[in-house]
Subunit: 609 residues, 2 copies
């Protein structure tokens, strides 16, 4: 039992650097590696088979592999991606950039040509033909927190440790080039008996003290406070500290779209999702009029998409980023937030609070009961699906209408939400779903009693087409997610944003989506095409359907010009306001307000239900 | 008839810069634009619908769109790709890098956030969240011959002209960022009445004279000469000049894998494909013992892949690159090769030639007649398919076994070969096939009498999975290529290179490939699964099959461990040699020679036929 790692795995004294690398990952419970093979990475991949707990996902293309590593990392703290020089790594870069933007820990290992070829600047396959072997490394450095090449035989083990630590702690991509001839550099296996030191730096006590006392004084004074929980709460593993802080302060708690799934949404303190300019009125009422806001795991304090603007109105904000704090106008760099939160909790004296707790209005819209033969609409689907969610679910929503719709749902306890709200690369979620399924499989196995997490994906039909082949990898591994294809015949968010045009660039080829599982070789599956409210209702009330014992693909038929109501309502108001401003300023006519086309649908909707 | 462009299109005096851009493309007969829409590119795309001759391909993802623009450009001289900021452009970059490496003219337009957001460093959707709007532009500059942003209202029309000219003349990608608020910058339409000046620079007469006289003296003196036709012959539009030079010199003519399809392979002068170390003995005999080699449209004089090394043995080489000449050891930069070749032809005096013409041995292997029930093998398929090719075919072969197999075929006159021999990004050809089909459709329409070009794609099953969704775009447009899926149950080239391992990273999920067309909504198609020699023979002798009146998908079943014979034979020799060298040097044991596993198949093959 107390045997050392090298004893348990019966390792020889001397092992290859690539063995070492994979053992290090194994020690962090990273058991699935993503990517595609290539001539410069095969000798590295061979080593992976030396470790019993490790598997090679074998993705269908590199972009999907990067998305999958990202989804996996969001559950397990680190995702490892292996691609081949040039063609492979560049295919993946959009996915890696997404991990960078959204603070997700990724170790990206690139199998490179032998160092001799690089030194001689040979004209090789997968180069630009100009003898420049540094270009891809240079490109990668723009979307990585650290990059390196494994070339020095003395330092390579330190380097491997450093890469893994950085990706893990900073929650960003790290790029590691591994020349094919370096794969066997010898390393003393005994190093593995000292676990990687993943401890956070102690904070400077002086700085910490100042920050804590200032934050506490805001906390004590505030009469209309709000806690906002953002993306990095799960990435930096602050969930327990956040829970305790919320419980003890009793402040109204909100999540950002990226933070959704990190707090208990059934708690009476929970006020809903803060989506800036398109938040529900109950949410804006509290957040916009707060005299103090503490944002935990803050990713961005301001943020714009074409459909909403996200900004805190009060100047009294404590923004707890991953590794720094901004308090009103003061910035405090180099702080571990986890340690800081622990100290705040240790020093917090609830008796000093000025705030009088009050229950937040329920976010849950009363269940509407339209007739069974009414056709489905976004608004109804998103409200209704909440009732089907279970504790422990992993809920993945794609950029497009789903990312907005999900903000109308309420998550049960211990639910994780995955979406790419900042980077917003369409197609991401098919890969992320694969990665999350792998992670869940491993978590279920590690835990006794096994907690059954369901992975539930909502993906627009347009998005689905970008990355469809990763469904095949899901099938290959016999994974069992729920895949809801929201079929509104094209890019509806684009239609909505830009609906004046008679253009066709948001139309897509109509597929027989449900036929794909069979074509991809799946034998044990269930498919459903859901058109009416009645069909939807009977699906979500069927207990068999609720058990994730096989892959299930559900095509939800929706009108092409329908978007979630919340989005539409708010957006109309927004645009009207900005139109007024613009007209005052310059009498411009270039503002897009929804034309009457959208209005009839809106009305019908309201009448129908 | 003699009306000006603006009259013909009834253009107002003042048009938007984006209209101007699309009219310029229209003037160069570029009628299809590739890409995916996004919020920052939609206002630009709207303009495209103002021009009757222009269509928006609407690809399934951006990487495929870049591949398609590349395939289109290889036939039409320029491909235009439009993507959206960050997510779109990075998804495409591997395809653009391929165009850069392989000298293909691409205009990549990226729809960007408004300049005001960039100046204020707003935290926007599709950014890395750090306010840096320059990062993607910077990344693009590594794989472009020119990059720019459309921001200056005075210079923007000049800038658009410059971008198009550069992409066209230099045959490399150009990157043009178009902020969404700049789309309507006003331009005088009258500029369009002056065609773009795409004339090549006149060469410096002194330099030109020296080069011509030196080349001619080599030409006259040589007794064992060879002409090698490489990739840039088609890219730089040197086909006519090359044809005349070959006709008049009567030298033995070879093509590189990337040059295949640019000379008449039925001519007795034609000696075959020079693939360096794995060339056929008849080819090496001439090329390796030549006392003078002239390489037209040279891309790389030396080049290595994992399966072959490509190098000219003689020191007496005239390498005619795109814009420079290397003659023995002297380099002459800044030369237009087209003008140079024309001058060489003007000065050439055939009476001074020392070379005695002799016919090259026929490359065509005698047709073997195995029994009809013999299972298919690579070797036989590639020899046999030559008999089915027709003049005017566009033959596209994917990285992997197909790229080698095709070198064993002989192309009829006026055939174009498309493959990515240098960059070698697997999956490329599905996009390239779409692009080539669009181009062919336009060429067929422009020409009277219409020449019917068939587009024929050979793609490994592994490669097919990387980019499968682009098949849907082919279906959407009712295009009619032949798609041969070479099903050997995975990555056979990898199996071959690295066959010692018992790893599974070259296995792939078995799909019902032929079921895909229906799932993608295709109604008019033909599919075939070909397992035996007899089935193959009856397919290629069926005249109905030879007419490209509908999309045809043919699954060719091949053994997992089978590769084209030529590749295998040579490779064994090569590796044996390098093994001997290595053993002499260092007594190393790390060389991969095919294990006995491959041998039985080889023997069976030879016996079977
Ligand atoms: C890689 C990438 N390409 C393009 C875009 C632009 N874009 C944003 S939403 C969208 C359409 C998504 O359509 P669909 O998945 O059907 O969702 P819907 O809008 O119908 O909900 C596109 C193409 C993007 N965000 N990412
Ligand atoms: C984008 C990209 N990823 C990975 C590779 C490495 N690679 C080279 S060949 C190959 C396998 C191709 O398999 P298949 O298309 O089935 O062809 P076969 O080898 O069976 O002929 C792979 C993955 C690559 N060249 N490009």
């Amino acid at each position: 039992m107390n045997s050392s790692y090298t004893q348990r795995y019966a390792l020889p004294k001397c092992i290859a650097i690539s063995d070492y690398l994979f053992h290090r990952l194994n020690q962090l419970n990273i058991h699935t590696i993503f990517g595609l093979s290539g001539e410069f990475s095969m000798p590295l991949l061979d080593k992976l088979y030396n470790i019993p707990n490790l598997r090679w996902a074998g993705n269908s293309n590199e972009l999907n592999a990067a998305y999958a590593a990202d989804g996996y990392s969001r559950l397990k703290g680190l995702g490892c991606l292996i691609t081949t020089f040039g063609v492979g790594e560049l295919s993946a870069i959009n996915g890696v950039a997404g991990s960078y933007a959204e603070h997700v820990g990724i170790l990206h290992i690139v199998g490179m040509p032998p160092t001799s070829a690089q030194t001689k600047q040979l004209l090789l396959h997968h180069t630009l033909g100009n003898g420049d072997f540094t270009v891809f490394h240079r490109i990668a450095s723009d979307v990585a927190c650290y990059t390196t090449l494994i070339i020095d035989s003395e330092l390579c083990a330190d380097e491997v440790d450093k890469c893994i630590k950085k990706a893990w702690i900073e929650q960003r991509p790290v790029y590691m080039g591994m020349p094919v001839n370096q794969v066997n550099l010898p390393i003393e296996s005994a190093r593995l008996n000292t676990p990687l030191d993943l401890q956070l730096h102690k904070n400077d006590p002086d700085v910490e003290k100042e920050v804590i006392s200032r934050i506490l004084s805001f906390i004590y004074k505030s009469q209309n406070p709000a806690i906002i929980v953002d993306a990095c709460t799960s990435r930096q593993n602050l969930i327990e500290e956040t829970k305790e802080l919320c419980n003890r302060l009793k402040f109204p708690v909100f999540v950002t779209p990226m933070g959704k799934g990190t707090v208990n949404e059934t708690d009476p303190q929970f006020g809903g999702v803060f989506t800036g300019s398109i938040s529900a009125p109950e949410v804006r009422e509290v957040v916009d009029f707060a005299d103090f806001i503490i944002v935990i795991g803050c990713m961005l304090s301001e943020f714009s998409t074409s459909t909403f603007h996200f900004q805190y109105k009060t100047k009294n904000c404590a923004l707890l980023y991953s590794t720094s704090v901004k308090l009103k106008n003061a910035t405090y760099p180099d702080l571990s937030i986890k340690l800081l939160l622990q100290k705040i909790l240790a020093n917090l004296d609830e008796s000093k609070l000025s705030y009088q707790p009050s229950e937040q209005p329920s976010m849950m819209v009363p269940r509407p009961y339209p007739a069974g033969n009414v056709l489905l609409r976004q608004e109804w689907v998103w409200n209704e699906i909440s009732h089907w969610f279970q504790p422990g679910d992993i809920i993945i929503t794609e950029t497009g209408a789903s990312a907005f719709g999900v903000n109308q749902t309420r998550f049960p306890v211990n639910t994780l939400g995955i979406s790419q709200a900042l980077w917003g690369s369409v197609g991401y979620t098919m890969g992320a779903c694969l990665g999350a399924e792998f992670a869940v499989q491993e978590i279920n196995k590690d835990k006794f009693p096994a907690t059954k997490h369901r992975v539930i994906l909502f993906m627009g039909d347009g998005a689905f087409q970008l990355t469809v082949q990763e469904l095949s990898t899901i099938v290959k591994w016999g994974l069992t997610p729920y895949i809801f294809v929201m079929n509104n015949q094209g890019y509806s968010v684009d239609r909505f944003l830009h609906h004046r045009s008679d253009a066709s660039y948001y139309d897509i080829q109509p597929w027989n989506y449900l036929g794909l599982l069979r074509v991809f070789g799946c034998t044990n599956y269930e498919t459903k095409k859901i058109i009416t409210v009645g069909e939807f209702r009977s699906m979500i009330s069927d207990p068999n359907f609720a058990t994730n014992d096989k892959i299930r693909m559900i095509e939800i038929m929706l009108p092409p010009r329908d978007v979630p109501q919340a989005l539409l309502d708010r957006w109309v108001v927004e645009k009207e306001q900005s139109k007024q401003v613009q007209e005052e300023n310059e009498n411009s006519s270039a503002v897009n307000t929804p034309t009457p086309e959208f209005q009839p649908l809106l009305k019908k909707n309201q009448v129908g239900y």
